[in-house]
């Protein structure tokens, strides 16, 4: 589709851009202590974006801007998640004490900028656009993670993030250039076609694949590119940590899935129930190892954490490992399971971090010991956190269990070659329960009953409730979500 007619399908992105511009100007007219008013503008802009996004939905795959951008149900699924993530983040950050009196205007602008970057990441079909979108997300994230600039941890986080990010995106760029040298094109479906016709250059393909994986692995925080995550998660403002742990991670997965599913598969059975990997490249095996090591390492290190934010950081590394289980089987079932799990993970992880934020605001602690007796001080918050923890551990009746169930189902269905990975995944759930239960134990088992509950701040509690309720509800009846994920399995392939 040519550039002009493509614009009709690009309205959500334009809406986001407009909101960003309005935010920048509006912030200029506000006093510093009023800057959290920008949250209203940002939230309104995101609502409009959501509306235009919903109205732009179409069931067919189209390519926009002469093949630069895919407009397909797959990217719609992720954009939908991104808008909601940004919305909740903007709302909850406006009440966060941690950020009180700081530059909310800039924060909201950056969150929306990252959202725009993620929109492009989920739909980019061209390596150049992939790189630009990738950097848009990364560079903006560096700034926001150092947002608490008077805190030492914040500055350390930002610096680590920049260095890791710079190195890994440099490596990725080198991988792109190898691929370009090999195929002479930047279009990923064209790359896929040329690679599968041409069996030469095995080693180069392998090297470029590994290099590109460095970039993607860094975004989804999989081993061995995960080292930045705990420090950045701990040092960033909690509202942004919540955003970072679901938004850019999901965007990384969207990119990874599209890239592997388009560029690195053999073209014989594109868009079938199961697809084959490139003959010269055993990437499913590589992904299998990465998945197993990521989840095991994330879970084992999480066992030793005493800071809840850090604990959740390692747990989200482990969850990246779980999600990766879906890609190794090379089936639509696996893809479906990944997408289902990502949306489940979105609800429960965002919710868990929001609880951390609220607890830190009200009781001044991010340590597990600070949660002692939370059920007596703030029962609703404790129960919601309990729901999130159970869901993260994958125990019914929560949506986290259903997500894990689909992942295991995809592996078992894939055949006995995948049984070991399924068993590793299952044992990892048991390990993870131990540290989630440490939080539960602090909240429910320890501490003494107090007479009065603490007064609650309405907005964050409402947001947390809005996330906890679907975690339970979708655990009992998840057909709407699974139908949505099923309908979103269509990825654009340009022939």
């Amino acid at each position: 589709m040519d550039n002009i007619s493509s614009l009709n399908y690009f309205i959500p992105e334009l809406m986001l851009t407009l909101t960003i511009l309005v935010l920048i100007v509006y912030d200029l007219f506000l006093k510093k202590e009023e800057s959290n008013y920008t949250a209203y503008v940002a939230a309104a802009g995101l609502v409009f974006t959501l509306v235009t996004l919903l109205s732009s939905y179409s069931n067919v795959e189209t390519s926009l801007f002469l093949g630069m951008i895919a407009h397909d149900p797959f990217s719609f699924f992720f954009k939908f998640l991104f808008v909601l993530t940004a919305f909740f983040t903007v709302v909850i950050s406006s009440t966060s004490l941690e950020m009180k009196g700081k530059f909310h205007g800039e924060f909201n602008t950056f969150v929306l900028l990252i959202t725009l970057g993620m929109f492009l990441l989920a739909s980019a079909m061209n390596l150049l656009l992939v790189y630009i979108a990738f950097e848009l997300v990364s560079v903006t994230s560096y700034i926001v993670s150092g947002y608490l600039k008077d805190s030492k941890r914040g500055s350390e986080a930002a610096l680590k993030y920049v260095i890791y990010g710079g190195v890994s995106s440099g490596i990725m760029l080198y991988g792109f250039s190898l691929l370009y040298g090999l195929t002479g094109t930047l279009d990923i479906s064209e790359i896929g076609r040329i690679l599968s016709q041409n069996n030469s250059g095995d080693l180069t393909v392998l090297v470029s694949f590994l290099m590109i994986l460095a970039g993607f692995g860094y975004k989804i925080a999989s081993v061995p590119f995960h080292f930045w995550a705990p420090d950045v998660y701990e040092g960033s403002p909690t509202a942004f940590t919540a955003f970072l742990s679901v938004g850019p991670k999901a965007a990384g997965f969207a990119l990874l899935i599209r890239f592997l599913n388009t560029a690195f598969v053999s073209q014989d059975n594109v868009n079938m129930a199961s697809w084959g990997a490139l003959e010269q490249l055993a990437w499913p095996e590589i992904m299998m190892w990465i998945s197993a090591i990521t989840m095991t390492l994330g879970n084992l290190v999480a066992l030793k954490q005493d800071n809840v934010k850090r604990l959740l950081a390692y747990s989200s590394i482990a969850h990246a490992g779980y999600v990766l289980m879906g890609i190794v089987v090379l089936t639509q079932d696996g893809l479906f399971a990944m997408m289902f799990y990502l949306s489940a993970y979105y609800l429960m992880n965002l919710g868990a971090f929001f609880v951390v934020l609220n607890v830190a605001d009200r009781f001044g602690s991010e340590e597990i010991d600070g949660y002692n007796g939370l059920v007596y001080k703030a029962p609703f918050l404790a129960v919601c956190m309990g729901i999130f923890m159970f869901s993260l551990a994958g125990i019914p009746p929560t949506v986290g269990f259903i997500g894990k169930f689909y992942l295991f189902a995809a592996l078992i269905k894939g055949g006995s070659a995948y049984y070991p990975l399924a068993i590793i995944g299952a044992l990892n759930s048991v390990v993870s329960l131990y540290y989630y239960a440490r939080v539960l134990r602090a909240m429910f088992v320890r501490g003494e009953a107090v007479d009065s509950e603490m007064p609650i701040i309405k907005t964050p509690v409402a947001v947390i409730g809005m996330l906890a309720f679907p975690v339970l509800l979708l655990g009992l009846y998840w057909a709407p979500l699974s139908d949505f994920a099923h309908a979103s399995l269509k990825l654009l392939i340009i022939h």
């Binding site: 295991f408 189902a409 048991v430 429910f444």
Partner: protein, 500 residues
Amino acid sequence: MQNHLLSALTFIPVLGMFAILFIPRDKTYVIKVVAAVTTGLQLWLAVQMFLVFDRTTTAMQFVEHYSWIPAFNIEYFMGIDGLSAPMVLLTALLSFICIFASWNIDKAVKGYFALFLLLDAGMMGVFVSIDFFLFYIFWEVMLLPMYFLIGIWGGPRREYASIKFFLYTLFGSVLLLLAMLALYFYNEPHTFNMLTLMQTKYDYNFQIWVFLALFIGFAIKVPIFPFHTWLPDAHVEAPTAVSVILAGVLLKMGIYGILRINFPVLPDATLWFAVPLGVLGVINIIYGALCALAQTDLKRLVAYSSISHMGFCLLGMAALTTAGMNGAVLQMFNHGTISAMLFLLVGVIYDRTHIRDVDGFGGLAVRMPIYGGMVALAFFAGLGLPGFSGFISEALTLIGGFGAEHNSSTFRWLTGLAVMGIVLNAAYFLWAYQKIFLGKLNEKWAGLSEISGRELFTVVPLAIITIILGFYPMPILGMMSETMNGIIEMVKSGAITALQ
């Protein structure tokens, strides 16, 4: 009501739980009454079920069958047969009694009863589900309230005990989940319907692996040696009513699962595993009894005696004879009532003295004659004295063991060893009784009050059931015998055709 009896049995406690959540937390009496009414209603329904249950068929009864998640062929499928019906009755009975045994809970009353009702719903759901997925959901739902009930209202080492229980059972559950998925995908079209799963012939090696995964999942719950170490800790730390549920209902779920799924679905693996199962049963009997002999903590003693008694179920099942199978399921029911009685009675003395050390008492029969009499009755029932229900079921499992048609000489030996277990059981019960109640009164306890009316109300119904079933076991035995023959038939015929 008839058509939705099982749903009602399962979800009435959930309604009760929501009702409790809306009652202000300081109205503790109202909360307790709501819990009692809820479980009372459930018990009444269970008794209705008992009265109209058709004892002449192996088919599922009170069936409810709806689609739940069509895309994955997951169904809301409930039904009971002779294997599950006694367990449904037992669950309803013990839940009702336990509400009264929890009457003097004073910490976070609202939370306690809400969680207890959720536990009740989970247990009931496990016994009535025919869809494997639904079964698994209930199986897991039960874990959450149990963790909190031990963790919040438990004894001094409750943190350790509750997380140990949780991790052990979750380990079993994930194996169960994988085995369930393997069965699901083996069938074409894919299904979780247990009745359909039973009709498929599975590859021999596949059967062995799935059997082992399921078996470990269930064995942890029974618990079968060497997966038993969570049980004494959980029992000792749990509050009385939770111990009762744990011993009375939760332990039965492991055996129920093996009989419901492993035996009929995987007949070849069942025959292959019959001797190891029998051996594990005998180890449970002897090892449990020897451990019980070494205990001075009364609750630990009863906990190990549970491990020992569960061994008889395993032996009876492994023999694959009519007597053995009937004995095993009857033993499940009888042990449910007897161990509940034992834990309730231990709770009575612990509430008064706050110790459970058998050596710390002495001559209590003088101060508490009624209590002493009740304990004597419960202990005699526990050691399998003729005239009490436990004797009949243990005798049946032993008869079944002697009569095993496969590996008959091995089973004769095993049964011979199991008889030793009965002697050991008698030893520790009598020895404990002597230390606590007989001899000179320990002056420290001269001021103890007699067992109260409420406490008697929780124990006496169980005692009556134990005695009635000791003389005439047919009300329960009659429910299950057809189904048991059906399961034996399934194992034998299923395996023979597979061997040809």
